[in-house]
Structure formats: structure tokens, C-alpha cells
Amino acid sequence: MDWTRFKRKYSTFQIIIIGFAAIILIGTGLLMLPFSSRSGEVASLDCALFTATSAVCVTGLIVRDTASYWSGFGQAVILILIQIGGLGVITIAAFIETLAGKKLSVRERGLVVDSISAFQSGGMVRMTRFIIRLSLIVEASGAVLLMPVFCRDYGSEGVWMAVFHSISAFCNAGFDLMGTHSGAFSSLTAYKGSFPVVLVVCLLIILGGIGFWTWHDIITCRRHVRRYKMQSKVILVTTLFFIAVPAVLFFLFEFVDGPLPERISLSVFQSVTPRTAGFNTADLSKISGRGVGLMIALMMIGGAPGSTAGGMKITTVAVLFASAVSVFQRKKDTQLFHRRVEDSVIRRASALLLIYLVLVFVSACAISFMEGISMRECLFETASAAGTAGITLGITPSLGFFSHLILIALMFFGRTGGLTLMYAAISDRKAEVFRRPVETINVG
């Protein structure tokens, strides 16, 4: 089918979904090539599909240890998938098209607007260039900053490690190459005391997670915080809140046996990573029930809209919180930073919260039933998949094919954003010709 007919037939939301699915399938095919794995064996469909989905959806859940199972080629494929998934299939496609000197059509602009959750369609081309240029700059500086430590520890291999971890952190993916050095599935635990690594990785995760629009505001308005868009202010304040508060809580009831600087570093890192990066410097299997609960909540909340992060997004939580406050104060309007929030936004936010809660809970029940594992591990795993976080209590590799399929679906849902998927599935948006009368119903 040719491109123009294809565009006319499907809605923008459907094309975004199809784009992501297509990249996942291509990635699966590439990972199944014999020279993608270190041993030269052909990876099973389950393993390749899971890894490709995890990479494109920037999750970081893995069934085979990235460093010890995949060859250099396989790792490169994973890294490219992470980069495409992190910036968004459509953003990259639009960028390549403009590089080739083509002008984007009105419909293609609409596609870009929907895929990076923009406000208007003006300046879209400039925006995609801005996103990609800034991403590359941040990733390159991250790699340069990580290089001294990694080169000291691993010699020339350290260059590749620095590049891989920088991109993986910035895209909030959480894939790591530590498996051959500090034991399979060890993530960054070997660097729990290394401040340069912890600091750089944290910064990369946060920068990736606050979203392209927030960067745009920061770069164009600089110190003039008042001129920031309301959304950027909300994102910055909630991000700060969701880093500081969990860090304090982690400090109070986890990692009590370590020395003080290590405790602080561990607390901060474990509070940054669930939303939604997926590295860990602490052994998660030793974390208490309180810590697990807190992490599940953080994973579901996720990052900012129009960013490399997943989850139901911090703005959703902020809007619901503001709406609850307005109910308690018996005010008619919901307000954030002296601006009114539209009712339709609040409805979308509550719909998102509901589908996330239901999906995470129901799929955790299903996996728990099929595999006979306790709900604690399963809830952690499904929240991690739906929030595209990628931290795990260690059950991912041992799960069966159907549990993996559930996780794949959750990751896909988490990355494309629940509503995009719903809008794509229900494309029939005819204007309503009538409304029903109002009748009161009591809630609460």
C-alpha cells in the first residue's frame, strides 16, 4: 500500500501504534539472527520479542543478561532500538524526512504533534530537530563523563560501555552491560559507592524524564521561571517532589547497615530510578515491603509527558491531586499555578489512572496464578512493565511464555501511552448528535 493511502486510511494514533509495532518486529528479526547472540545460537522468539519490546518501549526488563548473552552486534541493535523508542518512532521518521529535504505534509505534522504530545502544530519541524540535537548532545556529554570511570575499570571496552549506559540512562531504558563483569543481572550494583557514576546516571535519567517541552521552556526562558508554561512548572515541581520525598523515605527505612554517604547515594538513586529508568545500585531482593510498595507507586507514576519516560505520567497525578483539592475546598474549578485545568483533562487523567491500576493489578494476578509466585513479585513486575521502568525482583527470566506476552503487552501499553492505544483501538469518533439527560448518582 502506498504511503498517502496508508495515511488516509489510519488515524494518527493508529500510525503511531503501527510504527512502534513495526520497529519491534524488525528488532525481533534482527535479534534472532545467529550472530546477534554471543554463542552463535538463534535466540528463541520469546526471548527476541521480549528483548526487542523491552528496548523499543525503553523498559529494561530482560530475560537474558544483555552483556553475557548478546554479541556486540546484538547489543548495538538493542541500543538503536532504545534510541528509536526513547525519542519516538515518529520523531525520528520526521527528522529523517526533513533531513532528506522533504517538506512535511499537514497530516504528517499532525502525526508529529500527537506523538510528542505537543500543543500546536506550528514549529513542529524545528521542534523535532531541537529534540534530536539536544538528545545527542546530552547523551554524548553523558558518555564523556562516564568514560573516565569505565575506561579505568574496563580498558578500551569502557568507551562502548559509557556510550551504551549514557543512552540507556537518558532514554530511561535501564539496559546495562555489567553482566560479564559483576555477575549476570547485576545492573549498576557494583557502582553503588561511585559518586561520578551515580550522579551522571541520575542526571541523565532526570533530563530524559522531564520531557522535551520542559527543556524547550528552560532553554528559551532560562531563569525567568514565571514565563514557563504551566505544564513545565508542574513537571519540575512534581519531579522534585517525587525525587526528594521517596529519597527521604528510603533513607529512613532502607539500607540502614551501610556507611552514611553510601546510604544517601543509594537512597537518591533508588528514588530516581523507578520513574522510569530501571537501573539499580541496591540489591532489590533485599528491600523491605515498604520499599517495594513505594517503588511500585513510583513506577506507575512515571515521568513527564512527551519525554523518554513511561508510566501514567506525573502531570496526570498532579492534575488528579489538584482536582481532589478543589473538591475538598468545594470549588468549581481545578487550578494549578494560577491556571484553570479543563474538565476534559481531568476526565482523561482519571481514565488513565483507572486503566493503569486495573491493568497492573489484573495482570499481576494472572501471572501470579500461572506461575505460582507471590503477588509482591508479580505486582512489582507488572508495575515495572506498565511504567516502562525495568527494575525487577528477579522473576523475569523464569516466567513462562504467556506471562512474557502479558509483560510485552504492558510494556507496549506503557510506552505508547494508554490513551494513544485506546484512541487507536476506538477510532470511530463521529460527532455526537445527542446527549443524555442528567440524573444524579451518589459517589463516596
Binding site: V433, F434, R435, P437, V438
Partner: protein, 135 residues
């Protein structure tokens, strides 16, 4: 059971609706105004907010399935005319329209109404007869 479609929920319309429900019939009430529909909603079988001059909306209503359609729109005669015409065109079995003057009566007949009622004229006749016999 007989079912009625009632378009235009004003004084006349709502009184017709209430009486029909009292008599045990099913009534679907339609109006463009949300407050009027919300007010009648607890009385009638079902109610919808919508524009009866919109063909799409009438199609969704399935006007040919009602035994009788009342067009009791006041204040906007053009809407009355268009609704009556559309109802008949879509195969409504019996359309009863309300007119405010004799010219309106004739126009409504022209656009297909099966019966036209002019409430003021009816009331006037009744009042004249009722009080002319008195001495």
C-alpha cells in the same frame, strides 16, 4: 403498548407527556435545551438532548418505530416545519404538529403533518361555548 415521540418539551409538550405517561403509555421526549430535558427526565420513559432538524439525530431515534410523533416546538416555526417534514420523509407513522396561527396550520399540512393542532384556537372555541350559554 403504544409509544409516542414528543419533540419540543415546553408547557404544552410536557403536559402532553405527563398525561400520556399517566395513561400508561411509553414516551420519548426530545429537546435541544438541556435544562428542560433534565426537568422532564424523571417523568417520561426516556429523554434525549438533541436537535430535531438534524437528520443524523432523527435517524438514530428511529422515528418510524413510534406510533405517534408530536411536534410541539414553540417560538421557532422554521424548526417546526423542518422537523415535521423530516419526520414524514423518514417514514413516521403519524405526525401531529402544533400550530400558532391559521397560516401555520396550512403550512404544516403542506409539509406532511397528518394532523395539525392549534391549541389556542381549540381553547378559544371551548371558552366561547362554555360561557356563551350563561345568563
Amino acid at each position: 403498548m403504544k409509544s409516542f415521540l414528543l419533540i419540543g418539551v415546553n408547557h404544552l409538550g410536557s403536559m402532553i407527556a405527563k398525561k400520556l405517561v399517566d395513561l400508561g403509555y411509553e414516551v420519548m421526549a426530545v429537546d435541544t435545551d438541556e435544562t428542560r430535558i433534565n426537568a422532564i427526565q424523571s417523568v417520561v420513559t426516556d429523554a434525549l438532548i438533541g436537535d430535531s432538524t438534524n437528520e443524523e439525530f432523527l435517524k438514530k431515534l428511529g422515528v418510524d418505530e413510534y406510533d405517534v410523533c408530536f411536534v410541539t416546538i414553540v417560538n421557532d416555526f422554521q424548526d417546526s416545519l423542518m422537523t415535521t417534514f423530516l419526520l414524514k420523509e423518514m417514514g413516521a407513522v403519524k405526525v401531529i404538529a402544533r400550530a400558532g396561527s391559521e397560516i401555520q396550520e396550512r403550512l404544516l399540512y403542506r409539509s406532511g403533518a397528518d394532523e395539525v393542532i392549534n391549541p389556542e384556537k381549540l381553547a378559544a372555541g371551548w371558552i366561547a361555548e362554555r360561557y356563551s350559554g350563561e345568563d
